[in-house]
C-alpha cells in the first residue's frame, strides 16, 4: 500500500525531468529517488509523485542539473500540504504580459542609470543584449545573466504561467496524495472507473467522468480530485504546431 501504482518508465521520467536515464539510476543509488519494480517485471519504474517532487525540487534549486535533496518523505508531504493550504489564485491573468514596462516582479531590483553600463568592460546596452544574454561567471561558475527587456517580458509571461499552474496543482495536492495511496486498492475494486476523492477518501465513483463531476460539483465538494483508476496515466495529445507570423530573429 505504501507504493503508488501510477508509474512512469525510466525513459519517460528522464524526459519529464530533462535528465539522462543514467542520472536517474545514479540518483537511485544515492537514495535520492524512489523507484519500484512492478510484479512480473524486471524493469524499474518511477512513481508519478516522485517525478513531481523532483520537478519541484529541481525548480527550487534553479538549476536543472542539480540533484534533489534526500529530505524525508514525511517532511516533504507536510510541506506540500502546508503550501497547498497557503495558495491563493492570482486575481490577474498570469498568461498575459502587463502593458507597463515598469511593472516587473515584486522582488525585482531596479537600478536607474544615466548611461549604458559596463560590467568588467562588457557593455550592457541594447545592441549587445539584442544578440543574446550576457552571462557573468566567477571562477568558471555562472553567477548572473543579463537579458534584454524583450526576453525578460517573455520570461515573465512564462514564469507567471508556470506559477499559476503550480498553484492550481497544489490546490489538489492533498487529494492527489490520497488518490495515490488508495490506488492499489481501487485497482482491485474500481479499475477503469473514475473516482472522486474528498477529505482524503473516495466519496463517489462512476464509469462516466462527466456524470461523476456533475454530481460532486453539484454537492459543492471542494477541493475534490477526480481521477481515473488505471495503472498507467493516460497521456493526451495537445494542440498541433502553429506558424508564428512575427518572430524577432
Amino acid at each position: 500500500m505504501g507504493e503508488a501504482s501510477v508509474h512512469l518508465t525510466l525513459k519517460r521520467a528522464a524526459q519529464v525531468l530533462g535528465v539522462h536515464e543514467q542520472t536517474l539510476r545514479s540518483w537511485e543509488k544515492r537514495g535520492l529517488i524512489r523507484m519500484v519494480r512492478l510484479p512480473g517485471s524486471r524493469y524499474r519504474r518511477v512513481p508519478v509523485e516522485e517525478v513531481e517532487r523532483l520537478k519541484r525540487e529541481m525548480r527550487s534549486t534553479q538549476a536543472g542539473s542539480a540533484a534533489p535533496s534526500a529530505q524525508s518523505a514525511q517532511d516533504r508531504q507536510a510541506k506540500m500540504r502546508a503550501s497547498a493550504h497557503a495558495e491563493t489564485l492570482p486575481t490577474e491573468s498570469p498568461g498575459v504580459a502587463r502593458s507597463s514596462e515598469r511593472e516587473y516582479t515584486a522582488d525585482a531590483q531596479i537600478v536607474a542609470v544615466r548611461e549604458p553600463p559596463a560590467v568588467y568592460g562588457a557593455p550592457l546596452d541594447e545592441t549587445v543584449l539584442a544578440q543574446g544574454p550576457v552571462i557573468l561567471e566567477l571562477e568558471g561558475r555562472p553567477i548572473a545573466a543579463v537579458i534584454s527587456p524583450d526576453e525578460y517580458r517573455d520570461f515573465q509571461v512564462w514564469r507567471r504561467s508556470r506559477s499559476w499552474k503550480e498553484a492550481q496543482l497544489a490546490h489538489l495536492q492533498p487529494e492527489r496524495v490520497a488518490f495515490q495511496r488508495l490506488l492499489p486498492e481501487l485497482l482491485k475494486t474500481h479499475a477503469g472507473q473514475f473516482v472522486a476523492i474528498h477529505d482524503s477518501r473516495m466519496v463517489d465513483a462512476d464509469t462516466n467522468e462527466g456524470e461523476l463531476a456533475w454530481r460532486v460539483i453539484g454537492r459543492g465538494l471542494k477541493p475534490v480530485y477526480i481521477g481515473e483508476v488505471r495503472s498507467e496515466p493516460r497521456i493526451y495529445d495537445v494542440p498541433s504546431l502553429e506558424v508564428i507570423p512575427h518572430v524577432s530573429l
Partner: protein, 124 residues
C-alpha cells in the same frame, strides 16, 4: 456553414464558443479553434482565471515532441454551433484562444472544405 478565419495564414476553422463554469454559472465567450490533433480541449489561462475555476483533476499532456507535462484540469460546459457539451474536462494554457479538440468534435459531424474555406458542425 462557418467561414474560415482568413486573417491567419493558412486560414483556420474558428468560431465563437461560450464556456460556463457549472458551479458558479459564470460564462465567458471567446474564439475557439478546431484542432483535430488535440485529444483534449484547452482554455486560455486568462479565461480559467476569469471564471474562477479551481482544478478538479489533472492530466498528462504531450506536445509535438512527445514530452509529457502535468497540467491542472477543470470541468466546464462548452456551447458551440447551437450545441452544449456538458462537464467537459479541459486544461489550460497561456494562449489567447481556446482549442477545441477531439473531445468536443466527437459530438458533431464536422465538415471542412479547405477549398471554399468554410466548415460546418452539425449536431447529429
Amino acid at each position: 456553414m462557418y467561414p474560415y478565419d482568413v486573417s491567419e495564414d493558412p486560414p483556420l476553422a474558428l468560431l465563437t464558443v461560450q464556456v460556463t463554469d457549472p458551479a458558479s454559472g459564470r460564462q465567458v465567450s471567446l474564439p475557439g479553434k478546431l484542432d483535430t490533433g488535440s485529444g483534449i480541449s484547452i482554455l486560455p489561462e486568462k479565461t480559467a482565471t476569469k471564471l474562477g475555476l479551481q482544478a478538479e483533476a489533472e492530466v498528462w499532456v504531450a506536445g509535438y515532441d512527445g514530452t509529457p507535462a502535468l497540467l491542472p484540469a477543470y470541468f466546464v460546459a462548452v456551447t458551440l454551433a447551437g450545441h452544449t457539451v456538458t462537464m467537459l474536462k479541459v486544461t489550460a494554457s497561456p494562449r489567447s484562444q481556446m482549442f477545441l479538440g477531439r473531445d468536443v468534435l466527437r459530438h458533431f459531424i464536422a465538415t471542412f472544405d479547405g477549398k471554399k474555406q468554410v466548415f460546418d458542425l452539425i449536431d447529429p
